[in-house]
């Protein structure tokens, strides 16, 4: 990234920096790929990763209108897609094209960031046409062929694969396994024992994908089977392992890189042609593809057969559609609640068989609804690992800028979170990480002087904790200087007496607007976003952020997030004649209290909860409600907690639990503290949903 062109705006510079990084990364991965192509063992994950790199570069460049980069990376992506799906063999020619395209990309990106974009059109066009030559067709919309086509499976076999079997087959293919067709002619009377023997033999060295019975030449006494199996073993070894009297074996497709010398020999000599002796029945035989079976060797794979069948097992869906679906599910849940309530009333009213049956049906409906809800929720879930990739790029850029050495460690990449939450947490996390490198990790010299490894470590870990997902960002830097924070807070007028503030409370100051301990704003962290924005952004998705720090050893940011925002279980409470919902995920327990249980400490109401003192908050005071009647003598405190903080919210009554769908109050009321939204109770009543994180933050802040 260079700054010598003042006309280039910042986002374009950011793009070019990121593009350069992707291209550099592509380069090292392509080099690995070239190495592995030489050795004949291609890692499908590596290929996939290169494909993804080209894909994201294309997307980025397209957004910024860099047509050259976008066109070239788009074509590379196509080529890589074919390689990835096994439709094209990775040979030296293809590698050369990929490496050359990469060179052009790299110099294109570099000269763009130097403000000079001219003279590349010809090079890009040349690369594109070479890529298209590899793809066999200059047309941009090449027909999508199924990767299964390379197997030359008969229509009959293809049609008889269940979705799962098809998936397994694709999986085996993508792992570069050899796919074998094992044809067995067995006696009708004893075929199951025989087949079990054959199956067991295959299972010792591979996976059985499907078993298709087919008609034997003598259909009164025999039955044939075609077993599809995936295995690492080469033809000879596999046929040794599965040796059986009545079995013929066909190698449908070698792994992505079949060992060069034996490959041509096997099909010609060792491979029997299974179905041809049965040609009289071949019209009836479900698997007669002797011709097809020999066709798809590596040379033919370059010109795949066109097929209308789609390849991908995934569907991209606009998250808005899922939201809509979730809303409908939520409303169904409410509709169910009212049916269940009716059934219950009917049963209490006058016991009747009909009422019991209605109750039963409502139960069945409830179970199915729960499944549906879970299903829709699952679709929204994506692994946190997707964030990690993004973070590692940022860490590399910043540490290079700062001249610091940083190693990034990831844990719990499989932890799943709602897609929207993952998106919304990305910016705050990015900022926390920037902070960690900027303020946390010391320079290599300082670290060596302190007896640490000169390479700093940032550890990002995520794990599920009850109904929350916790993401921790931990650095092994110098820690936060609490005294400096206190002094700064005093200087800024946030606190009257810095000595009266505990260390833990002092750390909270970092999240206040306008707080910054560095004297000079650095290029990285000081981009106008403070930790207050980080906290607000996290709070907007009902999350909390906490800091722990140890001087000299490092700082840990703990972000606690709900797993999903869509449907939540809530506790319905009433206070001063009004009804509210509290998300159950933040409710720890509830207590019955009388006036005698209350104490006042430092002008705040508290109560004793086992060994600790629990601060209390009267909901009516928080929401400024007028109480029409006397306060009841016995009331409840709902103990809520997010992260490490606890608060007892004092209410009149607990009305029960219910699933609710939180709906936004709209822009106008969005900033109202303590209210997360509104929800429909299913009996035509709409109530407000309290935002526990917001209430806790607000109370703790005003209380200190």
């Amino acid at each position: 990234m260079t700054d010598n062109n003042p006309l280039m705006n910042k986002s374009v510079r950011d793009f070019l920096a990121e593009a350069e990084e992707i291209v550099e990364h592509l380069g090292s991965e392509l080099a690995d790929l070239a190495d592995s192509a030489d050795s004949g063992d291609i890692n499908p994950d590596l290929l996939n990763s290169i494909f993804r790199g080209a894909h994201s570069l294309k997307g980025l460049a397209g957004m910024f209108g860099f047509t050259g980069i976008s066109e070239l990376s788009h074509n590379m992506e196509n080529l890589l897609d074919w390689l990835r799906l096994g439709k094209l063999k990775l040979d030296t020619a293809v590698i050369a094209v990929l490496l050359e395209s990469h060179d052009v990309l790299l110099s294109l990106v570099r000269s763009l960031s130097e403000g000079d974009a001219g003279g590349y059109d010809g090079k890009v066009a040349a690369c594109v046409s070479r890529i298209n030559a590899c793809l066999g067709k200059p047309s941009l919309d090449a027909p999508q062929a199924s990767p299964l086509d390379v197997l030359g499976l008969s229509e009959q076999v293809l049609k008889s694969l269940t979705e799962y079997e098809e998936h397994r087959l694709l999986e085996n293919l993508s792992r570069g396994k050899n796919i074998y067709s094992v044809h067995a002619t067995l006696d009708l009377a004893t075929f199951d024992q025989e087949l079990a023997r054959i199956s067991d033999a295959i299972k010792t060295c591979g996976e059985i994908i499907s078993t298709l019975p087919s008609m034997s030449s003598n259909l009164e006494t025999n039955i044939d089977f075609d077993i599809l199996a995936g295995s690492d073993l080469a033809f000879e070894e596999f046929s040794q392992a599965t040796r059986h009297d009545n079995v013929t074996l066909t190698l449908l497709r070698g792994g992505t890189q079949p060992p060069a010398p034996p490959a041509p020999a096997v099909p010609d000599t060792a491979r029997p042609v299974p179905e041809s002796p049965e040609s009289p029945e071949s019209a009836e035989t479900p698997a007669p593809p002797a011709v097809q079976a020999t066709a798809p060797d590596s040379s033919a794979a370059g010109t795949p057969l066109p097929s209308a069948k789609s390849i991908s097992r995934t569907v991209r869906v606009d998250i808005g559609k899922l939201d809509e679906l979730m809303n409908i599910v939520g409303e169904l849940v409410l509709a169910h609640s009212s049916i269940a309530a009716l059934a219950e009333r009917l049963r209490r009213d006058r016991f009747s068989q009909l009422a019991v049956e209605l109750g039963k049906s409502a139960k069945v409906l409830e179970r199915k609804l729960t499944d549906l809800q879970k299903g829709v929720m699952d679709i929204r879930m994506i692994p946190v690992g997707q964030l990690y990739e993004k973070m590692s790029r940022i860490v590399r850029t910043i540490s290079r800028e700062q001249g610091k050495k940083v190693e990034l460690l990831f844990y719990g990449a499989d932890t799943e979170l709602d897609k929207l939450i993952v998106e919304d947490i990305s910016d705050p996390m990015m900022h926390i990480i920037r902070n960690a490198i900027d303020h946390g990790i010391e320079s290599p010299e300082k670290r060596l002087a302190a007896g640490k490894n000169e390479k700093g470590v940032i550890k990002i870990s995520s794990y599920q904790k009850g109904n929350h997902v916790v993401i921790e960002v931990e650095d092994d830097g110098g820690g936060i200087d609490v005294e400096k924070v206190k002094a700064r807070a005093f200087q800024k007028g946030f606190v009257q007496d810095p000595n009266a503030v505990s260390d833990k409370e002092a750390l909270e100051f970092i999240f206040l607007p306008g707080f910054s301990t560095t004297d000079q704003v650095s290029e990285v962290s000081g981009r106008g976003v403070g930790m207050d924005v980080v906290r607000n952004n996290i709070a907007a998705i009902s999350g909390m952020v906490d800091i722990e720090t140890t001087p000299g050893l490092g700082t840990r940011f703990i972000i606690t997030l709900p797993i999903t925002l869509a449907i939540i279980k809530s506790l319905i409470i009433s206070c001063a004649g009004r009804t509210y919902a509290l998300p159950v995920t933040s409710v720890l327990e509830s207590l019955i209290l009388t006036g005698a249980d209350l104490k006042t400490v430092e002008r705040r109401e508290v109560t004793q909860l086992r060994e600790t003192t629990l601060p209390l908050l009267r909901l009516e005071e928080f929401l400024c409600l007028n109480r029409p009647t006397e306060r009841p003598a016995e009331f409840y405190a709902v103990v809520v907690g997010v992260a490490e903080k606890r608060l007892g919210i004092v209410v009149d009554e607990l009305l029960g639990q219910q699933d609710i769908v939180i709906k936004s109050l709209g822009e106008g009321l969005r900033r109202f503290p303590g209210i997360a939204g509104a929800a429909d109770l299913g009996d035509q009543r709409t109530i407000l949903v309290l935002d526990v994180g917001g209430i806790i933050n607000d109370t703790m802040r005003s209380g200190s």
Partner: protein, 115 residues
């Protein structure tokens, strides 16, 4: 297994039919040459050979080609059901099914043989 028992008891209650049960695909393949079958019910997900493979086999074997086949499957396996239909299954019913569903199927395929 419970489903098969239920299926059997419902079909029994619908008329005087002789019912042959096969616990899995292999058993079905073994039973077929020995029985004269007028209607076949099959699940899709079975441990040894799957229902689609069974249907494919039946439809390609002149001895069984014309026996009506009804898929019994769970909701959500629409694409498998579709494949079954393409392979030549005559009908399908979705679990959980009602006895009236079976009644309709039996009337449709065995109507003239009932009772």
């Amino acid at each position: 297994m419970a489903l098969r028992a239920m299926l059997v008891s419902i079909v029994e209650s619908l008329g005087d039919f002789r019912i042959v049960e096969a616990a899995n695909g292999f058993e079905a393949l073994r039973l077929l040459p020995r029985e004269r079958v007028d209607l076949i019910f099959t699940d899709i997900n079975m441990p040894d050979i799957n229902g689609l493979e069974l249907i494919s086999y039946l439809r390609n074997n002149p001895n069984y080609q014309s026996i009506p086949v009804v898929i019994i499957s769970t909701e959500g396996s629409q694409s498998d059901i579709e494949k079954g239909r393409m392979l030549g299954a005559n009908d399908y019913i979705v679990k959980p099914f009602e006895s009236s569903d079976l009644e309709n199927i039996i009337a449709k395929y065995l109507g003239d043989r009932q009772g």
